[in-house]
């Protein structure tokens, strides 16, 4: 009989869990829709800006602006963009793995490496690792907007200009589709033109600038870095919501299956108990 009670208790608890995962799935789905929308709206701007910057960077010499100038030393800063929260499948662990792989593959070329973070999960993981840790940009997704991104990009650009590091690489989950995310890394500083760009044809000396080239550069280059960080954060956020939605969806399904199995064994146990009781009664009656 104790068995029956135990199974009933388990069914209730699994059902409760299922309700929670179902609710989390709904919330993630709603957030995903909004995140995806804002990501799609932001993409053309980031992409066009990248094209323009590429053309510009290809047509001026590196010395024209410090953000374009590659440096001899290689003190690398890696901005790891993960999620603030868990329960989103392999989202964070895949990203962390990709970051570890990137570090292992490139470390020999670096003079030094420093990790900076947006998103709590990667920061928590790397805190226990033997890497040098830099700033953790708390609350980058809380909320994810232009002001919070500005804070991050301004700090990073300032440190770069102050010669605190020589190269900025970001690693983040790209939003491929609702069910698929892919860890990507990109070098943001110094700015490198997109090489496979067909737009990169001769930009010639007759390119006109107004007001002056240098003024435009010092306006455009930070804007570009900021836009790319903003885009990466949005990609990551949308990807996180997608990952959480599908993780919670399969959790809900699993819970459903478990409830079915438990119900089956509950019914079996109940029948077995009834049979035993009947046998007891009948044999008791026969003994009279």
């Amino acid at each position: 009989m104790a068995n029956l009670k135990e199974i009933r208790k388990r069914i209730t608890s699994v059902k409760n869990t299922q309700q929670i995962t179902k609710a989390m799935k709904m919330v993630a789905a709603a957030k995903l829709r909004r995140a995806q929308e804002s990501l799609m709206q932001g993409r053309p701007y980031a992409l066009q800006l990248f094209h323009t910057i590429s053309r510009l960077a290809a047509s001026v010499e590196h010395e024209a602006h410090p953000l374009l100038l590659p440096r001899a030393t290689m003190r690398v800063r890696l901005l790891v963009i993960s999620a603030d929260r868990g329960l989103c499948g392999g989202f964070n662990s895949n990203l962390i793995k990709a970051a570890e792989r990137y570090i292992a593959e490139h470390k020999s070329q670096f003079d030094s490496l420093e990790l900076v973070f947006a998103g709590r999960k990667a920061q928590e993981y790397f805190r226990r690792r033997p890497h040098k840790l830099g700033t953790y940009f708390r609350g980058a997704f809380d909320p994810l907007n232009a002001e919070n991104t500005d804070k991050i990009s301004r700090a990073l650009i300032q440190d770069y200009l102050d010669n605190k590091y020589d190269r900025l690489v970001i690693i983040y989950n790209e939003f491929k589709s609702v069910i698929s995310q892919k860890p990507m890394y990109e070098q943001l500083l110094p700015i490198v033109p997109y090489a496979e760009d067909s737009y990169l044809e001769p930009l010639a000396d007759n390119y006109l600038y107004e007001p002056s080239r240098d003024e435009l550069l010092s306006y455009l280059l930070p804007l570009h870095v900021n836009t790319q960080i903003f885009r990466a954060l949005r990609e990551s956020f949308a990807a996180e919501m997608g990952a959480r939605m599908s993780a919670m969806d399969s959790a809900t399904k699993n819970a459903g299956e478990l409830v079915e199995k438990l119900t089956l064994s509950f019914n079996r146990a109940r029948q077995a108990a009834i049979t035993t009781e009947l046998v007891e009664i009948i044999s008791g009656a026969a003994a009279l």
Binding site: Y45, L49, L208, Y209
Partner: protein
């Protein structure tokens, strides 16, 4: 030959169209881009852009701060905000302008204060929106 005109903002692509010429508010005054223009990159002031499509020779669009690139008959405008004149509600634009004026008159009037600069920009944007809305057909 025509120009490919695109206006992109961080919150979306505001406009993508073919046009024969486009007039923009440059830092040093208005200028018009025709097809075959030299590659060109310039900062823009808050103001109104005007472009021709088909029968409509003067479509207006209110622009925030940004810049424009002209390259191979493609005009790409990068701005913080953009609004087509026909989408602007005149009444609300008027209200926004008086709000901006009021905020400005209560402010520090110190040209080095960044918040004062922001208020000036707000007013300029409100003005350009109202202007675009009034001129729209």
């Amino acid at each position: 030959m025509s120009l490919q005109l695109r206006i992109v903002t961080p919150t979306g692509e505001a406009l993508k169209t073919e046009t024969t010429h486009v007039t923009l508010p440059g830092l040093n005054g208005e200028f018009t881009v025709l097809s075959g223009h030299l590659p060109f990159l310039t900062a823009l002031r808050i103001g109104v852009a005007s472009y021709a499509t088909g029968k409509h020779t003067q479509n207006l669009c209110s622009l925030g701060k940004g810049f424009v690139e002209v390259f191979a008959n493609q005009v790409t405008i990068f701005v913080q905000t953009a609004e087509k004149a026909l989408d602007i509600d005149k009444k609300r634009a008027q209200d926004a302008l008086s709000r901006a004026e009021k905020a400005l008159s209560n402010s520090s009037h110190n040209p080095n204060d960044p918040s004062y600069q922001l208020l000036l920009e707000d007013r300029a944007r409100a003005k350009s929106r109202l202007l675009a809305a009034e001129k729209a057909i």
